[in-house]
Symmetry: C2
């Protein structure tokens, strides 16, 4: 059972999804449900000998169409809605042990095009209000399957945090006639201290306002609001940037760096797509926790200077 | 060095505090900086033989008065402010190994009064816009000192999340003539399924809209917006509720349950103080992580039903 419950203090929905308590939790490598099904073996989510990039519905979805019946009835203040929507898994390769840093750029180019296809399909479905492509990488951030993969959530509402973001972008456009991302990237480029690498049509930057120590944003140099609006050159540039950043991340501390990757995009002219990476490490052996100030008040404390972490990542 | 940097997409400040990278990290029990100083021993933060409840400035503060100079200059879009404010530590007892569940209620009554005193003092200081009392408990949530203690942050701005909260409370009061907390608690009490315990002038409830599996809110039964407005009876009731909840939490899985405790209060008539507990566990051996959907989009997924977790906590 699953439903959306209204959080009247945060003005946001909370998704309950009790069946997810039983989701697959670190199966042995031989029983990975995201690997291709082996001849005579147990049936995985990919019933074929191998695949390039695979996208399919999450077996333990938080959002589902048609939705299940809510577990509670709710009331005037205790609002309930069915948790309609879509949760998909995107496998980056059929190779169980690969990372983005290992993959050839041509494979990442395919992945980026699968993201684009899935984005266009999902956003056009009735009732879908926001499509969010993301990756949780590493045990430290909570993944339960190690096979290289990301996820896509098609929410039936626009989360409060996204609303704030778009309102800020809309206000900036109204005041300045330029997108917020364009003005911010211009300032970062002029300053230069927080640029990690800059190439062709994309820039990788530790933002001036980084909330996490090794946070990096991949920003297109043109006002492309979403994957749909990008041409082949932009999409290829994104693939190259992902490979370059993943390689530097894995070199940083000498182990595959865990992170959350968030693709913020919205089919609206006032925005520009940004791919944000937020790794949970603050040194090679210390994690960045979201506790009292962050989880309680939303007030982030960054123990590092963005100028210094950018220099570290640039030097690799 | 430390400063506030403006996050133009989130419309919020981010605090940088680089000196915190060197903060004390799990010292041996014999070298706890929060224990009373022993005769002939190293000097701790409490230069006396023992203490009841002790409050003092954090040695590795994120906010400080007078503030240090910012590390960067900033610009028109890359806004910078000094990170003026106060960070205090509140030790609950001089006993290094105690937990709130162990403490006698009379000790917790003292603690609550220290919170009240510190709140009144800090909120009256120039430049302080929001005072946040919280506790990070347990290694799993990131504490670096195990001595029982909480913290107080006096921010020089109102965090975006708190602004959303107060706007929602203000709107509700305008529409209904009653505080949001009053109406919500009335609905919870009438329904009853999510009440953990109810006594005298406080109620402990797993909210209908819980974001974390074992989230519990301690709510006063009267419209008391902050600790300052509470009389002795209300303060004593809070102390009793803290003891009762901590005891149930520690019984739940048979180990001291880690949590973040957040005291939301604001000296304004449209609000009611709420003490929120958000433990990071979803089962006795699995953690609740804030990853893609939560950290990226702010969209929380709760793998449990609030009605069921309330029943579990009620039965202990």
């Amino acid at each position: 059972m699953s439903e959306l419950r209204w959080h009247p203090f945060h003005q946001d929905w909370v998704i309950t999804a009790t069946h997810r308590q039983d989701r697959t939790f670190f199966p042995p490598d031989d029983y990975c449900p995201l690997c291709p099904t082996k001849a005579g073996g147990f049936p995985t989510e990919a019933p074929r000998e191998s695949y390039d990039v695979a996208a399919f519905e999450n077996k333990f979805p938080s959002l589902k169409t048609p939705p299940t019946d809510p577990a509670v009835e709710g009331g005037a203040l205790l609002l309930v809605r069915p948790s309609v929507g879509v949760c998909e898994v995107v496998c980056y390769t059929s190779d169980h042990d690969a990372t983005i840093a290992d993959l050839p750029v041509r494979q990442i180019k395919k992945l980026v095009r699968v993201w684009r296809d899935r984005y266009i399909d999902l956003k056009s479905r009735p009732g879908v209000e926001y499509v969010f492509i993301f990756e949780n990488k590493g045990r430290e951030i909570g993944v339960t399957l190690t096979h290289p993969h990301g996820q896509i959530y098609a929410y039936p509402y626009v989360p409060q945090m996204i609303q704030t973001r778009h309102q800020a972008e809309l206000t900036h456009l109204g005041m300045h006639g330029r997108t917020l991302a364009a003005d911010w990237l211009r300032d970062e480029t002029e300053d230069g201290r927080r640029i990690v690498f800059d190439y062709k049509n994309w820039t990788a930057v530790v933002p001036f306002f980084a909330r996490y120590p090794f946070e990096v944003h991949l920003v297109p140099k043109a006002d492309t609001p979403d994957l749909e609006s990008m041409n082949d050159e932009m999409l290829d540039g994104l693939a190259e940037g992902l490979k370059e950043l993943a390689t530097r991340y894995d070199k940083l501390f000498g182990f595959p760096l865990p992170y959350v990757m968030s693709i913020f995009q919205y089919s609206a002219v006032h925005t520009r797509l940004i791919v944000e990476f937020t790794p949970p490490y603050r040194t090679k052996d210390k994690l960045k926790y979201l506790a009292g100030s962050e989880a309680g008040c939303g007030a982030f404390i960054n123990d590092t200077l963005p100028e210094e972490t950018a220099a570290q990542l640039r030097a690799l």
